[in-house]
């Protein structure tokens, strides 16, 4: 049975816990957490992930910079990325998608919406 691995990059422990709770409902999905963009890069350097979920507003390295770095990384350049953010403007969405994000979800999140998007990107039935 195939297993998928997902990296959640989020500085808010509350949001991180909520995302982990939601993702735990997807079978075969292993979730790794990262506190911010730099921690996210560190985790990406030491592992292989099938999906990345990241916030935008984070200290040290924000989510958009992280997306840029991921898209120039040989191992993870094609990995789907979901942005989950409080920024709800069309410009923010366009900027994120132009940098290479695959989906853009605004907070406050609805777990079913996140689950559906993850399944869609990982092609899980």
């Amino acid at each position: 049975m195939a297993e998928y691995s997902c990296l959640v990059v989020e500085d808010s422990p509350m949001m991180r816990q909520l995302l982990v709770f939601a993702l735990a409902r997807i079978k075969k999905l292993n979730v790794t957490e990262a506190d911010d963009g730099v921690d996210g890069l560190r985790k990406l350097a030491s592992g292989k992930y099938d999906l990345i979920i990241t916030d935008i507003n984070m200290p040290i390295m924000d989510g958009l910079k992280l997306v840029k770095r991921i898209r120039s990384d040989a191992v993870h350049k094609d990995v789907p990325i979901i942005i989950i953010t409080t920024e709800g403007s069309a410009e923010d969405r366009q900027r994120a998608m132009a940098l290479g994000a695959n989906a853009y979800i605004t907070k406050p999140i609805q777990a079913p919406q996140v689950i559906a998007k993850v399944k869609e990107l990982l092609k899980i039935e």
Binding site: S12, P13, M14, L18, T86, G88, A111, P112
Partner: protein, 288 residues
């Protein structure tokens, strides 16, 4: 031999006492009789031929009718089968409709359960994070995160009452210039009133427009032992949110009931040298 027959006839005619015309008449009669016999025989043969033809035709007709009857039986049987299949089809359609109705009902129930599960997860995480630390800074941060990430509040202020309980002092805020956030007299304005009465004020206009510091969208008093000790004022929501979600009411209740206790516990702990000394005298306090 024909000659002998002729002689015999002549002999009989010669010896008969019947007049010649009678003989002639008899011959005529016999000839007529024979001719008619022949004709009759021919007629019979014709009739026989005709009857044979008729018999053959009838036999053919009979065979055709038999085939038709058999065919009709087959058709009747087929019609019966079709009727049966039609009934079966109708039953299946009815059953399928019933299943669809049941499925829709379960789908609706499943969506409700999904939403309830989502709400419960929000509440669990909010409660867990609120009480996961005794650091005053972290407690304030968690209250802010709860408002920003779970409620979707863009601008808000957290007030606590000063020691004599007459002024609500801002403890933290988000989305508002610090200079604009000022203390509020208890009993004055929406915030002061909530701090005085302990009654929450939540706007229910739809869609929710941006509020102001003086007229926020929601004011949630923070209670301890039935007394208000502060309030949370939600001034505006994130641009993608223009109405309250069902879980927001529960999150406000959670903040109202647990926000102040988390703040008080963290504030008391701030003056303690560590977790173990913070427990000193706990048994005495439990008894008293």
């Amino acid at each position: 031999m024909a000659e002998k027959k002729g002689q015999k006839r002549r002999t009989q005619a010669g010896t008969s006492e019947a007049p010649l015309d009678l003989t002639k008449e008899r011959e005529t009669f016999v000839r007529t009789f024979l001719r008619k016999g022949v004709e009759f025989a021919e007629e019979l043969l014709q009739e026989n031929k005709h009857l044979r033809a008729e018999l053959s035709r009838l036999q053919t007709e009979n065979a055709r009718l038999r085939t038709q009857v058999a065919s009709d039986d087959a058709i009747r049987e087929l019609l019966r089968t079709i009727e049966g299949l039609e009934r079966e089809r109708n039953d299946l359609i009815e059953r399928s409709s019933e299943l669809e109705r049941v499925w829709r009902r379960y789908e609706g129930r499943y969506t409700d359960l999904e939403n309830e599960l989502n709400d419960l997860a929000n509440l669990y995480v909010a409660s867990f994070q609120l009480h996961a630390t005794l650091s005053l800074r972290r407690v304030v941060r968690h209250i802010k995160e709860l408002l920003l990430q779970l409620v979707g509040a863009e601008a808000f202020v957290i007030y606590v009452l000063d020691s004599d309980g007459k002024i609500a002092v801002p403890l933290g805020s988000e989305g508002i210039a610090e200079a604009d956030v000022r203390p509020v007299a208890v009993g004055e304005g929406v915030i002061g009133e909530a701090c005085f009465t302990g009654i929450a004020q939540v706007s229910h206009t739809a869609p929710l427009a941006r509020g102001t510091l003086a007229a926020p969208l929601a004011v949630i008093p923070m209670m301890v032992d039935g007394r208000p000790v502060g309030a949370i004022s939600v001034v505006s929501l994130l641009q993608q949110k223009n109405e309250w979600a069902s879980v927001d009411r529960e999150l406000f209740k959670l903040l109202g009931a647990h926000g102040a206790t988390a703040l008080i516990a963290a504030n008391l702990y701030a003056s303690a040298p560590g977790p173990v000394p913070a427990l000193s005298g706990i048994r005495d306090n439990l008894v008293s």
